[in-house]
């Protein structure tokens, strides 16, 4: 079915863009915010100064722009696919972000932490395998589900 094929293709492209811009954005935001540093105190003046330092950081802006692109891809895919179809991309991101942090930001990640990251990605993926029963009625009418059954 050509239309099913096309839908599967555009879903795959948008899920890839979600991982690319989502994980990349988080990593850049992390790099920028470590340079910015935490608020000196929890009063309105210091919180405003903290936000002011974040706003003038180019790395924070690039990370923020990347997350906006992630959000756009996320919104688009949610207009035709169920929440559970978006979850595998989210699951992958949880493993990709620590990898980027380790290789690009030089963060030390202990074996125990890598094990935790793997369990989290596995757990998030498993949550996606079994959608809640409340979406069943919607899933029957969804072309995305028919596409998946063809697989």
């Amino acid at each position: 079915m050509p239309s099913g094929e096309k839908l599967r293709g555009k879903t795959a492209v948008l899920l890839f863009l979600m991982v690319f811009f989502g994980a990349g954005g988080d990593t850049l935001l992390g790099k920028g915010m470590r340079a910015v540093g935490p608020p000196a105190a929890w009063n309105p003046g210091e919180v405003a100064a903290f936000l002011g330092r974040a706003v003038i950081s180019p790395v924070v802006w690039i990370g923020f722009a990347s997350l906006l692109l992630f959000f756009l891809a996320y919104m688009l895919v949610l207009t035709w696919a169920d929440f559970s179809y978006v979850l595998p991309a989210s699951a992958a991101s949880y493993a990709v972000v620590p990898l980027l942090g380790h290789f690009f930001l030089g963060e030390g990640v202990s074996p125990l932490r890598w094990t935790g990251v793997a369990l989290i990605a596995l757990g998030v993926g498993l949550v996606g395998q079994t959608p809640p029963s409340t979406v069943r009625a919607a899933a029957v009418a969804s072309p995305a589900v028919e596409t998946a059954r063809v697989d």
């Binding site: 555009k10 988080d26 990593t27 935001l29 992390g30 790099k31 915010m33 470590r34 910015v36 540093g37 935490p38 608020p39 903290f50 936000l51 974040a54 756009l72 919104m75 688009l76 949610l78 207009t79 035709w80 929440f83 991101s93 949880y94 972000v97 620590p98 980027l100 942090g101 380790h102 930001l105 963060e107 990640v109 202990s110 074996p111 125990l112 932490r113 890598w114 094990t115 935790g116 990251v117 793997a118 369990l119 989290i120 990605a121 596995l122 757990g123 998030v124 993926g125 498993l126 949550v127 996606g128 395998q129 079994t130 809640p132 029963s133 409340t134």
Partner: protein, 122 residues
């Protein structure tokens, strides 16, 4: 302690924000064209939904908390622990919305909890 507080804020505000945005986008229906003008129309229609604004407000709070966390801790710690959102979504679905949560889904929730505990300990 402050880290735990902001993790909780990211998870709670982020989860409710995503639920509201998801609801708003479902009201709009499937996007069939990817031309810039069509995408701009979708964004404008999304901004006309009350659920979208409620979702954006919660996401803004979650984003502020994320910025605070990232200013103090490594991204390889912060992002994995925010997966607690899935635990929150399952608990919220079961106890506030009365949904049936399958055994497989509870298994996923348990793995996420165990993973977060290891990341926190590591």
């Amino acid at each position: 302690m402050q880290i735990a507080f902001f993790v909780l804020l990211v998870v709670m505000a982020g989860t409710s924000g995503e639920m509201f945005v998801s609801r708003a986008m479902k009201e709009i229906g499937e996007v069939t064209s990817f031309r810039p003008a069509a995408i701009a129309r979708v964004v404008l229609r999304a901004l006309g939904q009350g659920w979208m604004w409620a979702g954006l407000a919660m996401m803004a709070l979650a984003f502020f908390s994320l910025l605070v966390l990232l200013s103090r801790a490594n991204v390889s710690f912060v992002v994995p622990v925010t997966a607690l959102s899935y635990v929150m979504a399952a608990l919220g679905g079961r106890f506030f919305l009365g949904e049936q949560v399958s055994a497989g889904r509870w298994m996923g929730v348990c793995l996420v909890c165990l993973g977060v505990a290891l990341v926190w300990a590591g």
